[in-house]
Symmetry: C2
Subunit: 459 residues, 2 copies
Amino acid sequence: MTTISPAVSFARENRARFLDELKALLRIPSVSTLPEHKGDIERAAKWVADDLRRSGMEHVEVIPTAGHPLVYADWLHAPGRPTVLCYGHYDVQPADPLEEWTTPPFEPVERDGSLYARGSTDDKGQMFMHLKALESLLKTGGGKLPVNARVIIEGEEEVSGEGIEAFVKNHPDRLACDVVVVSDTEMFAPGLPSLTVGLRGLCYTEIEARGPATDLHSGSYGGASPNPFFALCQIISRLKDDDGRVLIPGFYDKVKAPTQAELKAWESLPFDEPRYLKNEVGSTALTGEPGYSVLYRTWARPTLEVHGMPGGFTGAGAKTVIPARASAKVSMRLVPDQEPQAIFKLFSDHVMSLCPKGIRLSIKQLSVGDAVVVNTDNRFVKVAAAAMADVYKRETVTIRTGGSIPIVASFQKHLKAPTLLMGFGLPDCAAHGPNEKFLIENFYGGIESLVRLFERLGA
Amino acid sequence: MTTISPAVSFARENRARFLDELKALLRIPSVSTLPEHKGDIERAAKWVADDLRRSGMEHVEVIPTAGHPLVYADWLHAPGRPTVLCYGHYDVQPADPLEEWTTPPFEPVERDGSLYARGSTDDKGQMFMHLKALESLLKTGGGKLPVNARVIIEGEEEVSGEGIEAFVKNHPDRLACDVVVVSDTEMFAPGLPSLTVGLRGLCYTEIEARGPATDLHSGSYGGASPNPFFALCQIISRLKDDDGRVLIPGFYDKVKAPTQAELKAWESLPFDEPRYLKNEVGSTALTGEPGYSVLYRTWARPTLEVHGMPGGFTGAGAKTVIPARASAKVSMRLVPDQEPQAIFKLFSDHVMSLCPKGIRLSIKQLSVGDAVVVNTDNRFVKVAAAAMADVYKRETVTIRTGGSIPIVASFQKHLKAPTLLMGFGLPDCAAHGPNEKFLIENFYGGIESLVRLFERLGA
């Protein structure tokens, strides 16, 4: 199967146009968490729908939800062949801190073989590979695909994902399929085709602490008024010990360890810890639970992180205030079989038990998702591995990732379909950070891998 | 001395105009810590100089410094009489959080007998009382004052105070005086004339923690990358215990307790702790070291407070980032004989000793000031107490405050002059907070008290 099909040829001949189209999509700042980008979100959804329509997909529809819209399309004229559901998201993370971007986040720029822009890897670039693979097959197949295909692209992956959750739950028939294909993960190393079979879950919270009724002068009241920031520091410091072990009672009770076979496979991956420390993390040392490798810690152990602490005075210089309120954004990454709602309850109970004198706390749950370990024991996984191996001329490895794609658990639950996580990002792609980039070669390699996957599935 | 002098009459007759003029000054958003208000600072300095010129003061001058300008004026034609130095500041604290102001901070509004605006009490309103007292005396005295007077008004009191520090140190001759009068404190209770004889010192710092080289995805890296926010929470939680006792080694070594007489006097002040908790602080409980009264804790015990923790993601919703850097604004209020630079060193050493693995710390000192206990053993204090008692028809009490006015220590050191802290703010004036206000009656009472002070000093 290393022959060049017409669809693969088409994809190769149209690389420049595909890249230009991707740039146009990247220019839309569709940041889902910021209300001021609501119009951009709608613009991005329409853009994706228009592209699907032009490629020859059918029943293209922008489906409203309580939040940001879904984009749906299908082509279902291959009886007897499997049905593939392509999933991706057109929303992106906020771009701040803006000042750390070398070029503006929503002005895609090619540099050193990569395309730099917010969403280039996560997930506009990778989602767009699916659209271009389908287009290549449709344009060279007389408007036909070798398989039945549905496409569902959401706009809330970086926030709640509530719209698609409800849609999958309430309309599983509209997404009925044999297999789901998702490109929102990474290759373990450049040139090493990788199927991701494990995702961590997520429980993202915000703790608000209130002290005095109004902001107070810290000179006049320091020593008598409770201080919400100090309270949050006390609480947070008691959620995790110096070794990175989470101190919430019951937190580890349901944690299921990877199999010995999986752990052994990880050991043979080309992982270089000093290089990872220097080139990826860039700190003076790594942290985390002793006795676990970096891959184990980030793929199969739960963690707790603080993302920001809004409130009080954050301008330049000195303001002597005891703020009336302060907040902390705290999330936990979860692993099988930790259940996010159960963890949220353990977390909330523990935080409340740590509430210092004079402080009132409220805790919000901003986002949740189940951890998933994808079942590798089916023919689709083998076909996907082979399709990627065709392109990259190397055996495909199976890995996990520490990130979360909550909808994968819902696909498993409501569609009873396995998910293929065929990712083409790279460890240094800076998803969620400044200077996010996508190796342009992987954009092309991803399109070709997907073309070959669909061809193999339809053979 | 309860007769009505021409100057007192003049002050009474011109109340409406004085208040209008104050409003004009309050409309200038002269926030000293924010670089974008540099022009407003200059405008405010010029406004003050123009007012002094119109009132009949001489040698009016806007004196440039390395930071914000000083305003100087004098009238020195009363040989044999004492020389008074009036000090105040025309700069103000930032107004945020803006959304908590009932009316805009730089649009002064009269409501329920108070004037609401940033700076109404701290310190434009109180500083302006001095200008209007001098004007009342000059206009009714044929252009003469009963004493020699100098005026020095600074624009950096809410930040470093460096400009005036350098000026006092380098040009003590230009401020030579027998006594300094400052109105930047409070009355203990409405209608209770109060001389403040103790101020806490200040050591204001900013700790920056750096972890990964760039913002990282908390899914991919959570469990291996150090987190600067978590590090700051760990550090800060170890700077003060649950009872409010500072844990920095050596921190309390130089603390000098108030005299038994002073403590006894505080006990007879009309302080109602439940009322203070409910109406002033408004939290569910007070905090602070056990075994010390509220007045003792806030007036004569040092504290440590957190004012804000900039960095990371502070927008609405969820962003799953391990930020490359995070900061914490931490200040300590000091008491005699804690020396701010020595305390900064103890603080820095301790913070550095708490630095977690993988984190790099840097610590800046943003502002310092010595604690002061003003000597009450001289005739000026007695005259000031009598002048205030004339106006309020009650015996003047002596109190301390938990706030800091660093320049008072420098006046003592370089001018060898005692400082009279004649304050007319009130405990609920919300200096530094939203809805700062100044009781209009106290604005008038303050002007009259100062007129009577100058008359008594010149008698």
